[in-house]
């Protein structure tokens, strides 16, 4: 099978968001061929280079939506007229009133999108037209149309320009030459590794050549857009228009995708909310390498009693301040408790946050020593993976009797899953997919509640038996649900499911371009669903209803 793997800012670039997961997927499914189509996410990625590419990846094609680049040849008069019509229709769907019929708006948006794609295919490039004055004028007309949202009505010229620029970047996949017979038209299945712009080539391949689309979302792209375009980043009109555009695009992707695989039930809820059909969603948890945690996980006795460990990337959303306050409460009950914070700060904001946390720790906990003549140290230590106390990531977890997670924002809690692999008892805040990941194998407290966090930690610190029980259960659960093998097996199954339900129908042709009769065996195209007796489908027999359900 040939899989078209569509990525945005991830694989095959070093340090991409989804890079590790894609790499494992591609290596784990060596029996398939992969064509990687990557959208670069920013200028710095260009210099980062690629990860080593395994041989099953037959080709890698990249594009740079962020680069203004070559505008290409300008459209002719006819092309301009078509462009204005389709783009106006697209923007009309974006600015359509909220209370209108959702299906009708989705149809309008989809039709306009595919018409634009056909125009791009006919004329070569749309990049210039998407930034041209015609585009800005069409946007102004759509904003001033009756029924447009109030925020759009108030759009001023700079807002129009900003939205046009953003849309030109988001719609960049329309004008890529990826849909020919030698590219996406030749694959059996498109697998988009995130929603939004990355799934757009898949939508177009589906439109042009009927290639089925599978969309995997570990973090919901639409939600990320809402968070990135916060109130301070742009004018209300820009935010309203872009939010509407990305909402419509997400709805179109969810509507057209054959199967959606969210990474957690949190992502699943967002997808369902945006119009995804429940029957086509399969939650596939991200897989993690269990082997490197095996040694630590099988030796629960190496934990230091009375030590709490926090592991993760240091940023304000992780709420280390609450953790430190909770630890102050823990110290009142358990004077010998220690806290290890292992992690690296993310960006300048993270650096500042780390400095703030260090200062707070120094303020809350004075250095203390064994006796009068010993050198004291702080019960809270800040280290990184690789430091002498924690040479590797499993070692960082190994030291803790209890692993704590204090985030207020979390997608899929990777550090929690790693702690589970290590067989450690955990206390975490109830955010994101935490409850779903932990099941019943750890304690969960409300976020922003240091006292509850402290009480849960004390309860576990005082009860080694419970700790061991929870740790063992957590490890068993993690091995069952979050291993790499399970992840890859799930995708393998989904690939085969898609192939069996909606194979690409291609007409085989010979060298002269004439159709070859009997090139494809006839039984591959039995009309209807041959796993269920078609004639008996309507009958109310309970056995058959069961068969429907299984299908």
């Amino acid at each position: 099978m040939r899989i078209g793997l569509l990525t945005e800012g991830g694989y095959p670039y070093v340090g991409g968001d989804t890079g590790l997961w894609c790499d494992r997927l591609v290596r784990g499914l060596g029996q398939h061929e992969f064509d990687v189509y990557a959208l670069e996410s920013g200028r710095q990625q260009e210099g980062d280079g690629w990860v080593p590419i395994p041989p099953q990846v037959r080709r890698v094609r990249t594009a740079r939506p962020w680069a203004a680049g070559d505008d290409g040849a300008p459209l002719g008069r006819r092309g301009r007229r078509r462009f204005t019509e389709y783009y106006g229709e697209l923007l009309g769907a974006v600015c359509a009133p909220q209370e209108g019929s959702a299906a009708e708006v989705a149809d309008r948006f989809g039709n306009a999108l595919y018409s634009l794609a056909e125009l791009a295919r006919d004329t070569g490039a749309l990049t210039g037209a998407l930034r041209s004055d015609h585009a800005v004028t069409a946007l102004e007309r759509a904003c001033r149309a009756p029924g447009a949202p109030r925020a759009a009505h108030e759009a001023r010229v700079p807002d129009l320009l900003a939205v046009t620029d953003h849309l030109a970047r988001a719609l960049c996949p329309l004008s890529l030459g990826w849909y020919g017979e030698d590219a996406l038209a030749a694959v059996d299945l498109c697998h988009a590794t995130s929603g939004g712009s990355a799934a757009l080539p898949g939508l177009l391949a589906r439109h042009f050549s009927g290639v089925p689309l599978l969309v995997t979302e570990y973090g919901v792209q639409l939600r990320a857009h809402y968070l990135a375009l916060g109130p301070d980043s742009a004018a209300p009109a820009v935010r309203a228009l872009l939010a509407a555009f990305h909402g419509r695009l997400a709805a179109e992707v969810y509507r057209r995708a054959e199967i959606l695989t969210p990474g957690s039930s949190h992502a699943r809820r967002w997808q369902e909310r945006c119009g995804a059909d429940r029957a086509r969603i399969r939650t596939v948890h991200p897989g993690m390498d269990a082997d490197r945690f095996a040694e630590v996980g099988e030796a629960p006795e190496c934990a230091e009693a009375g030590t709490l460990v926090w592991v993760g990337r240091i940023e304000p959303g992780r709420d280390l301040v609450a953790l430190l306050h909770a630890f102050a409460e823990v110290r009142k009950e358990e004077p010998h408790a220690r806290l290890r914070i292992v992690g690296v700060p993310v960006g300048a904001e993270g650096e500042a946050y780390l400095a703030q946390c260090r200062a707070l720790a120094a303020q809350l906990f004075p250095d203390e020593a064994e006796g009068l003549h010993a050198v004291g140290d702080n019960p809270v230590s800040f280290t990184e993976v690789g430091a002498p106390e924690a040479p590797t990531l499993p070692d960082a977890y190994a030291a803790g009797a209890v692993v704590v997670l204090s985030s207020v924002v979390e997608g899929f809690p990777v550090s929690l899953a790693e702690a589970m692999f290590c067989g450690r008892a955990t206390v975490s805040t109830d955010v994101g997919a935490v409850v779903e990941v932990i099941g019943g194998t750890g304690l969960v407290v409300p976020p922003r509640n240091p006292r509850a966090l402290a009480e849960a930690c004390v309860a576990l610190l005082r009860d080694p038996e419970r700790r061991a029980r929870l740790g063992a259960a957590a490890r068993a659960r993690a091995l069952e649900l979050f291993g790499v093998e399970q992840n890859i097996a799930a995708f393998h199954g989904i690939y085969l499911e898609i192939m069996s339900h909606c194979p690409v129908r291609r007409v085989a042709v010979d060298e002269a371009g004439e159709p070859l009769p009997f090139a494809v065996p006839a039984e591959a195209h039995v009309p209807g669903r041959w796993t269920v007796p078609t004639l008996l489908r309507g009958s109310p027999a309970p056995v058959r209803a069961g068969a429907e359900g299984v299908r």
């Binding site: 900003a162 968070l227 924002v409 932990i438 509850a452």
Partner: protein, 390 residues
Amino acid sequence: MRGVDRTGAGAVAASGASGTSGAETAPRRGAVDPVKALLHRHRELCERAVDPLEIAAGLEAHGFTDRSAARYRHRDVFSLAEELYARVPRDADPAPEPTFGPAPRIRTGWVLLTLLPGAVASGTVAGLRLGPGTARPLVALGGLLAVILAVRAALGRGPLAARPGAAPRPSAPVWTVCLLGYALLGDGLLDAVVSGGPDALPTGSPDGPWPAATAPVVALALACAPAAWCAHLLDLGARRRLAGSRGLEDFTSGARPLLLGVVALYLAALTGLLALTGAVLHEDPAYPQALTLGALLFLARLLTAHRHRHAPAVILGAAAAAEVAAPALVLSGRLPDCGFLAVPVTTPVDPLGVGAIPTLSCGCAALVLLAHALRTLTRASAHAPVGGPE
């Protein structure tokens, strides 16, 4: 999902009393309407949100889950966000002043670089005038190359630099060099050709059988600096009008006088420089030829800088072709029975002098480009900043 919920709640209960007591106190504080208290706490988020999903995303970023939404008697965060979005008063919020990124800055780099072509050209002319006669060809050649490189450097940065986005046209610099070459030597050549010559190669001096007009060229090189400042003024004015205008029509009507004013300012500066170089070098400043050429080059550069590269390349090519064709036509008119070929050139040259050819060709080209610029550079899309919010 339900089962998972219960597990979480059970774990909370097992962790101690405070977790559950916190959950009970939150609604009590808000008396009968807990959502009102929530609305008050997240007032800014709710008031500035553009749709309910944004409130949902924001609430989740504050640690809200479906379990916490249940405390507000909602099934999930989405329906809670919808209620908040519906209930928040949003009539009173004033539209914020539009912000338009940082203004283009005046950097020493481009300010100094725009002075470079003028300095190099003046130095070359001084070398030609004052240096020994034997070194003149070398000085002239080196000076020409240095001026070309200096102009290239000056146009690489600052407000005259081409913004990324359009395919570069390699022909445009070639035509520019042709036009400048004609301004330097063309009038002398045409004069000599019309009167039967040329009999000698140019020496680089204003007097002789094939005189070189150095004053206009030096003035044009010096005019790189005012050109950059004028382009900067255009950018500043365009940004101000962009921020202030309500619609695209509004912007266009405001930008037209701005563009005309900038071109007029540049021509005024060029006139001053021509007068100065003419006086210093004791030469005829050749105002009509130099002013039309200056206007043509300035407009071509403005268009190129604003991502309209196609029209300037074509028009510059046409003007250069017209100028080069003039002496060629006169020369071919000397062939037997081909005298009619010289008629298009001699018709304007006889009454108006040899300066009529560059004045006419550059003037027509500049007018065409001005019309084009009035159509394209007055549109908002030409002044769009590179790189929007992301």
